[in-house]
């Protein structure tokens, strides 16, 4: 009983100390939601009010048509899924090598990955644009093509994917594979039969975070994609705000909410794996 009351007091103090941060974190979500459901005529009323007089759910339907949300959503899904698959496909073998083999050049590769993290897309954006403009593709070049964004995202996510997966792979006991060899199983077959099934959770988690990275990225797609038909959500929604005299804020907030919420829920569900994976990678 005494233990419980002291834990209760501790909890109270913890929440009290965290409360300013919690308020600031939840603030934009409240702004998003309450603006999104406000009737248009209440958005620009002075003095402004937090609560709408009625919840205008039809804002979402109006926004969907007005902002071409569906097209951008499809583009975002396509670009994020493809780049994730590509990044994971090339990172699995690398992560396996980093986790299982001692070899010359391992340190070099690790440093190389660190450098790729350092050279963020925005630093290279001038060169990336030239690269896309230079490569012939179909009738023209790779500017305004999804494939250029996909390959760029995949490349910039390799460091994260290798780092995450190799730290998880290292926690899968080697003995399991070794005992499979003793039973006459070849190395490749042992990997396929024993290692991969155990590695699926790590690969899934990494893939989901890579997906979220791609989903949220801005600079590359902002530079490489030009036409409305090819824009992804981040760029499409930014275009509703940037350089406009009148911004339909209730629609913009409805759009940000729809673009954000599914990813936030997914992230909230999976964040504890991130804590573990990054921590393992950081010290190993």
């Amino acid at each position: 009983m005494r233990i419980n009351t002291s834990k209760f007091r501790l909890s109270l103090i913890c929440w009290l100390v965290l409360s300013p941060l919690v308020v600031i974190i939840l603030f934009p979500f409240a702004v998003m939601f309450l603006t999104a459901v406000k009737p248009a005529e209440e958005v620009f009323v002075y003095p402004a009010r937090w609560l709408p007089s009625v919840f205008r759910w039809s804002n979402f339907a109006d926004m969907w048509d007005a902002t071409k949300f569906g097209v951008a959503l499809k583009n975002s899904l396509y670009v994020s899924l493809s780049s994730t698959l590509l990044a994971i496909a090339v990172s699995i073998p690398a992560a396996y090598a980093m986790a299982r083999f001692p070899f010359r050049g391992k340190g070099f590769y690790r440093q190389f990955l660190l450098v790729t993290q350092m050279l963020s897309p925005i630093l290279l954006v001038i060169g990336l644009f030239r690269l896309a403009a230079m490569i012939h593709w179909g009738e023209g070049n790779l500017v305004d093509k999804h494939i250029s964004v996909i390959v760029a995202y995949a490349a910039f996510n390799i460091a994260f994917a290798v780092w995450m997966m190799s730290s998880y792979f290292a926690t899968i006991p080697k003995d399991l594979e070794e005992s499979a060899w003793l039973e006459g199983c070849g190395r490749a077959k042992a990997v396929w039969k024993v290692f991969l099934p155990l590695a699926v959770p790590a690969m899934t988690v990494t893939a989901i975070f890579t997906f979220i990275n791609a989903w949220n990225e801005f600079a590359v797609v902002y530079t490489l994609i030009r036409s409305d038909a090819n824009k992804t959500l981040t760029v499409q929604i930014t275009d509703l705000v940037a350089g406009r005299y009148t911004v339909e804020w209730h629609q913009v907030m409805a759009a940000t909410l729809l673009a954000t919420l599914p990813v936030s829920v997914l992230f909230a569900w999976l964040q504890r794996y991130l804590v573990k994976g990054l921590a393992l990678g950081a010290v190993k």
Binding site: A89, A94, G107, I126, F218, T234, W249, Q271
Partner: protein, 297 residues
């Protein structure tokens, strides 16, 4: 075959090759291209007009907006990274305690990470709207201010506001690293310290902080790199304005390259930034104590 594969030096390289090739291609060509453009006169549409030596660099360094952005970038990086670490250490310590609702608290603290920086910036831009934004409304209701503040219309307010948003979005990642660090600390050393009569503060100063040290260094390095390169917050909230008062190097680089039609000078700015990052990394590697097993991150 299976056993000898272990000792074969080629196999790991074959496994690494696909990722290595892809990353190398996407990174090396643009780097080469940027170096090339930076020493050439380049038209608005990317046509190379001719070699011009260091002219682009000379122009860039003679540009007062560039110099101002350079200093502002330092303040931006220092402000965001410093603020983030100061907030994240206590938050991580709390989230490491065992209390009711810890899972919920962790999830809430991680939330900003899941939202695209672009979306965060859009929402805050609306929240800081001078007449209709919820920040002014709330502050006025609570009686903190009498009249609405023009948050984003003057760079004196806009830039600190952007730094605060920068801190907010960097906290989750940093807390994650610290939590990982704290969970790797064995619990029994605290037991031993308590038996020896160490106070909570002593335990923090003498045990937690030194053990957290490598993780703090790690977080500082990664955050400096990310924050230095951070584009969407400032670009979406103020586009470097008003009157170029919130430009940092990345936003100015983008404006030069894609708005003002000066790819050559933009490439030069890229290279200056690259040099700064390299100096920082070299400095870090120099002052970092050598990892024991020779393969520290």
């Amino acid at each position: 075959m299976s056993r000898t594969a272990f000792g074969r030096p080629l196999l790991p390289w074959l496994l690494i090759l696909p990722s290595f090739a892809l990353a190398l291609f996407i990174i090396c060509y643009p780097v080469y291209n940027i170096v090339f453009q930076s020493v050439h006169e380049v038209s608005r549409f990317g046509l190379i007009k001719g070699f011009c030596g260091l002219d682009n660099f000379r122009k860039v360094f003679a540009d007062p907006i560039f110099i101002a952005s350079l200093w502002r970038t330092l303040w931006w990086t220092l402000g965001v990274v410093g603020g983030t670490v100061l907030v994240s250490v206590p938050v991580a310590l709390i989230l490491h305690l065992d209390f009711y609702g810890r899972g919920v608290a962790r999830t809430i603290v991680m939330l900003p990470w899941s939202v695209s920086l672009t979306m965060t910036a859009i929402v805050w831009r609306w929240a800081f709207n001078d007449e209709y934004g919820m920040v002014n409304v709330t502050l006025q209701r609570l009686g903190f201010i009498d009249a609405p503040i023009q948050w984003l219309a003057t760079s004196n307010w806009a830039f600190p506001v952007e730094i605060l948003v920068g801190i907010l979005v960097s906290v989750p990642f940093t807390v994650t690293i610290f939590l990982g660090g704290l969970s790797s600390v064995p619990g029994d050393i605290y037991e031993a310290a308590r038996i020896d009569g160490a106070s909570t503060w002593q335990q923090f100063r003498r045990l937690t902080l030194p053990l957290l040290r490598p993780f703090i260094n790690m977080a500082i390095v990664l955050n400096v790199i990310y924050v230095f390169n951070s584009f969407p917050i400032i670009w979406v909230m103020t586009q470097g304005g008003p009157s170029n008062g919130t430009h940092i190097l990345v936003t100015y680089l983008y404006e030069k390259g894609f708005r003002l039609g000066k790819p050559g000078e933009a490439a030069a700015i890229s290279l200056v930034m690259l040099a700064m990052l390299l100096c920082f990394t070299a400095l870090y590697l120099k002052i970092q104590p050598k990892a024991k097993d020779g393969e520290g991150a």
